[in-house]
């Protein structure tokens, strides 16, 4: 069976140890986590985990069922359309030639997030594939450091 990438949005009770239940489930059953993001859902006692995972159809079905089986799991959203965004921060030395940087930031909806004596930090938020492309392109400015977030997703 073919390996498929899937985004799961998991709503859980915001309580001690819930993240270890989920990461432990993935580790114990040999499932993959490509990325994982957690934050409280505003004005509730819930948290949202966005998990990017991959596997064949049977594995993905089991992942969803096993997640459901955990007592603190409220909901697993797996299908339908998602708006999916990742973020990347890139630190670039100031002595680089910034020719074309503006156009590139525009193309990726990026901004300059911060700057220091010797560097600037640029920030982009986009879907995973476009972040991949962006990070490839930004190499020409010899970045000092790249920090990439996991995905967040919203079903629409």
């Amino acid at each position: 069976m073919k390996e498929i990438r899937r985004v799961l949005s998991v709503i859980v009770t915001n309580e001690d140890g819930v993240l270890s239940r989920i990461s432990g489930l993935f580790a114990g059953r040999g499932y993959n986590i490509d990325s994982l993001t957690v934050a409280p859902v505003p004005e509730t006692n819930l948290s949202r985990l966005t998990i990017v995972t991959c596997g064949n159809e049977r594995v993905l079905e089991q992942i969803v069922k096993q997640l459901h089986k955990l007592i603190p799991t409220y909901k697993v959203i797996e299908s339908g359309e998602f708006v999916e965004k990742e973020m990347a921060l890139v630190k670039i030395p100031l002595n680089e030639d910034f020719n074309g940087l503006d156009a590139m930031l525009k193309a990726y909806n990026g901004t300059i997030a911060n700057s220091g004596e010797n560097f600037i930090v640029i920030m982009v938020a986009d879907n995973a594939k476009r972040i991949d492309n962006f990070l490839k392109t930004v190499k020409r400015y010899n970045p000092i450091q790249i920090v990439r977030s996991g995905s967040v997703a919203m079903d629409i």
């Binding site: 009770t13 140890g17 089991q62 069922k65 459901h68 799991t73």
Partner: protein
């Protein structure tokens, strides 16, 4: 009402109608034990090892269907309990296990007898809690009993730091409980149920593949009725022994690695497999690509994650088997014609006649299968049979005439040696009017032998029957078949205790048996003695469990006899 954490535990157990608990005290759980000492609501049985406390609570739960309860202390007390939790989890046994923990301020400091208990128990329980404030305890205790016994049952572990057991808070025990995130599905989808009945009516070789879920659901009467009026033959997994009743003509016997020829052939040749609370364990299916090759598959299970995990399912139904069968029954009565499966039943009967389950008895020594048959003839329904794990377990499953569910108490999924004796103690506490027998081997019995002391002290007259072949027999059998008889670390005959003296030194009775006559006398005497007993039966050393589907082999390709 204001109570301290320990009093809350006692009060919750009282309200949950707990009548007996098993456990072992220690530093971190002392406050709770102090309250156990003061109360009269339930009995506490002091085991001689924490693992045995959990197995005893497990045996209690399996025999009675009620939630088993056990107490252990922090650190090593808890780690000793882990095997018990894992055993109960994979066999879906409802239990609440409460462990002590170091005080909250010391958690994370590598304190004396500190271990991350919830971190360890997480993959071997249905749910667990670390209680950080006594005000949460009433809710946690209520949830624990509810979660353990609802949906697919399982053990729940509660870890309570020592300062929380002394902390005073308001005790407001919820009468009922609803959880936002946990709502098991009990009722099956009615459209799906109709489809299944149509599939049954259209099939010509249907088979009921009954698992432990039928026991947990309390559905065995319904299963029998359903099989009877539809005329569909049935096979039972290890965990389902007794559901159909041994004398039931529709029962083809146990299925799987050591299943009957007719049962395994029925599974292989069926055109519709109806899985009722079973989970397609590898010990049942054999090689998956050849499993149920000609069959459409129906799967009724309360745990959605069991469905489609191993085998693709054509008709999934999530729900409690009892409900699903009740809903299915009236529709099936209309549509399913018993006569349609006559030739199928005849065929399976013929299979059973060609290769019936059996063994060749002889005069020179005692065959282990004979011992089990003999216990069955002598005691039948008067006994509840626990086992350890190995050859004796399979022979018991094959040859004991189980007439009802919860009569056979065995560690199926985890295969825990040392389970039988403490479990049999729990059985006796749950159902005192029945004779509690543990059928064991000379390997397994030593894994919780210290429980002779518990059984003696607490007057629990378990009869341990040791089928002594001087081998770790099941491993030895594999070594014979698959490892050119290189008996690596399986010959136990060079060093054995004197089991008779051993039992006597703990205050029990011991019997050594070399002949059939001696066995009859020993069993009779053991039942009369009303004290913990060991019957050490010297059996044929090299007897094999047959038929056998070698691991990864196909169900229809059984090894029916072993030739040198």
């Amino acid at each position: 009402m204001d109570l301290n954490g320990s009093q809350m535990v006692i009060e919750a157990l009282r309200r949950e109608n707990v009548s007996v608990v098993f456990g072992y005290p220690g530093g971190a759980i002392m406050n709770v034990y102090d309250e156990i000492y003061k109360q009269n609501y339930f009995e506490h049985i002091l085991t001689r090892h924490e693992q045995a406390a959990i197995h005893a609570a497990d045996g209690y739960a399996r025999a009675s269907g009620k939630v088993g309860v056990a107490f252990v202390t922090s650190g090593p007390g808890f780690t000793n309990a882990v095997t018990g939790l894992a055993t109960a989890y994979i066999d879906s046994v409802p239990m609440v296990v409460i462990s002590g923990q170091v005080p909250i301020s010391m958690i994370g400091t590598d304190a004396f007898q500190e271990i991350d208990a919830v971190g360890i128990s997480r993959p071997c329980v249905k749910h667990n809690y670390l209680v950080k404030d006594a005000k949460d305890l009433p809710r946690v205790l209520k949830e624990a009993f509810y979660i353990a016994s609802s949906g697919r049952p399982g053990p729940v572990h509660i870890d309570i730091p020592k300062d929380v057991t002394a902390q005073i808070a308001k005790f407001d025990y919820p009468q009922k409980i609803t959880m936002q995130t946990y709502k098991p599905t009990y009722k099956g989808n009615s459209r799906q149920i109709k489809k299944v009945v149509d599939a049954i009516a259209n099939s010509s070789r249907p088979i009921l593949y009954i698992g432990g879920g039928a026991v947990n659901s309390g559905a065995s009467e319904l299963v029998r009725e359903f099989a009877k009026f539809t005329g569909i033959p049935a096979v039972e997994t290890l965990m389902a022994r007794g559901v159909m009743g041994d004398s039931n003509p529709l029962l083809m016997g146990m299925v799987g690695m050591h299943g009957c020829y007719s049962a395994n052939m029925a599974m292989s040749e069926a055109d519709l497999m109806i899985a009722l609370g079973s989970r397609f364990d590898d010990r049942v299916t054999g090689k998956l690509s050849e499993f149920a090759k000609h069959a459409k598959v129906v799967h009724v299970d309360i745990d959605p994650s069991s469905i489609g995990k191993i085998v693709d399912i054509d008709y999934p139904i999530v729900g409690d088997l009892k409900n699903v069968l009740s809903d299915m029954m009236p529709i099936a009565r209309e549509k399913v014609k018993r006569a349609k499966y006559q030739s199928w039943r005849d065929l399976l009967k013929r299979y059973d006649e060609i290769h019936p389950l059996g063994y060749s008895d002889n005069k020179n020594n005692i065959k282990p299968q004979w011992v089990i048959q003999r216990v069955g003839e002598t005691l039948g329904d008067k006994a509840i049979i626990s086992t350890d794990v190995g050859q004796h377990q399979m022979w018991t499953a094959q040859f004991y005439p189980f007439s009802r569910p919860r009569q056979f108490i065995t560690s199926g999924g985890l295969g825990t040696m040392g389970f039988g004796f403490p479990a049999a103690m729990g059985v006796k506490k749950a159902i005192p009017e029945k004779i509690s027998i543990n059928i064991s081997g000379d390997g397994s019995i030593l894994m919780n032998i210290q429980e002779l002391m518990t059984a003696y002290e607490s007057n629990i007259p378990v009869i341990n029957i040791i089928l002594n072949n001087g081998f770790l027999g099941m491993v030895r059998q594999w070594q014979t078949f698959f490892y050119d008889k290189r008996y690596a670390s399986t010959d136990l005959s060079r060093a054995q205790p004197d089991f008779v003296k051993l039992a006597e030194s703990f205050g029990g009775r011991g019997f050594r048996v070399e002949t059939k006559k001696e066995f009859d006398e020993a069993l009779k005497e053991a039942i009369k003695s009303n004290v913990v007993c060991m019957i050490d039966v010297n059996v044929d050393r090299l007897e094999n469990v047959l038929p056998m589907v070698p691991a990864g082999g196909t169900l229809y390709n059984m090894m029916l006899e072993y030739k040198e």
